[in-house]
């Protein structure tokens, strides 16, 4: 095998002197972003990728395992390596940390209250990392859990990444899967900032609770595989029968 400093076939252009396994990670991620491999597709075997990239199988393995830990890929012994899909229960609850206090949870039902396209105000523009007055999609939803109104969401999306969303016949309940299949945007990381607030009149009416009830408010910033901010949302949520669950380890 060509054993020169650049004996591999990865895009080592530029000055990125990263370890080979990191280069493999980036390269594989890039190929997914470019849709060479789509969600659900099976990747070539470790040996095939190794020869394709000009590195050893162990190096490919290390990269694929890291991406599996990050939930970009899924691997099954005897089957193969696949591009992760945001489908199924585990993926559903991965970014939905609301848990019923006692009984087992139903699936949440989402109800679209409005969908408009507006110029971003300063605050939203900053959160989405776009210029002020850029067109953004504003989606307001209400979710029902165990038969009662549970939470309200104001969702902001950069229109440039979601062009045509206003023509979609229906906005499904599972938004992140929808982003992935219809706009090739895979959610990779989210950050929630949580506060306690009192319900204002509008929210209280929509949730059918008393004005002044305590609500959890969390603002979420969501990044895609290629580290672009693709969503900002503000959620208000009653927590008398549910809690927001966080694990540190």
């Amino acid at each position: 095998m060509a054993d020169t400093e650049f004996g591999n076939k990865l895009g080592t252009s530029g000055l990125a002197f990263l370890p080979l396994y990191k280069q493999v990670e980036k390269h594989v991620t890039q190929l997914i972003v470019e849709q060479r491999w789509k969600p659900g597709d099976m990747l070539p075997s470790e040996f095939q990728l190794a020869s394709e990239f000009g590195v050893s199988q162990g190096t490919v393995r290390k990269a694929l395992n890291t991406l599996t830990d990050e939930k970009v890929l899924t691997r099954k012994q005897g089957l193969g390596t696949f591009v992760a899909e945001h489908t199924g229960m585990p993926a559903l609850y991965r970014f939905f940390p609301l848990v019923a206090d006692n009984h087992s949870p139903e699936l949440p039902i989402s109800e679209v209250l409005s969908l408009t396209i507006e110029p971003a105000n300063k605050s939203i523009a900053k959160e989405l990392d776009v210029k002020a007055k850029t067109k953004v999609v504003v989606l307001k939803r209400r979710r029902t859990l165990n038969g009662e109104y549970c939470l309200l969401e104001d969702i902001y999306l950069p229109y440039s990444a979601f062009t045509g969303i206003e023509n979609e016949p229906e906005i499904p309940h599972t938004l992140y899967h929808f982003y992935q299949t219809n706009f090739n945007l895979t959610v990779h990381k989210t950050e929630d900032k949580i506060k306690a607030i009192l319900a204002d009149e509008a929210d209280a009416d929509l949730l059918a609770i008393e004005h002044g009830s305590p609500l959890l408010m969390f603002t979420r910033s969501t990044k895609s595989l290629n580290d672009q901010i693709i969503e900002y949302r503000i959620t208000r949520c009653r927590s008398d029968h549910y809690h927001y669950l966080v694990n540190f380890d």
Copy 2:
């Protein structure tokens, strides 16, 4: 090297047919729990451990890297592998997710309101996984952040694991480090359940806020390295100038 089915020197007693690297993980963790290696100590090199355990260096490496990811160990190239200590800024904020909205945070100041030893009521006993009426330590604290009262904590500890705590001259601000150094209990995982509530009169008085203000309430269950529940705490916290920060990825 002895290449029999049990050619290694790990305690493969019982019926635990785990991969070697998992056995190494468990074994190393156990040695830390038993204080053969104390926080801050340097472990033997990978090759020394490999020969000690009767496995290859690569297998030891895999186990040590996993434990490093779990923050049980820290590794530094050229230096060695060390048992992690709950000291320094990163460890301080690892389990303290409260962040000031705008300005950079001060270190939190803790004030002990009371420390008593009581028989556990049913609810606390269940949370600590002990029998009802078992003796538990009840520690109440108030924390100040950026010059204002910020949060109240009711902390419950199983007395059997914290015997003698009532004779400690002082309870330091950094509780988890205190558990580690004085009681050989290293915090490994926590789980927070978050709700929004209204401040009752007692809490409002202690926080110098109005009765009925919204507060974040989180109940935390904490496990040590050997998976025992070592703490249960109920925190009430104002969130008008701070937020609780959560990352999913």
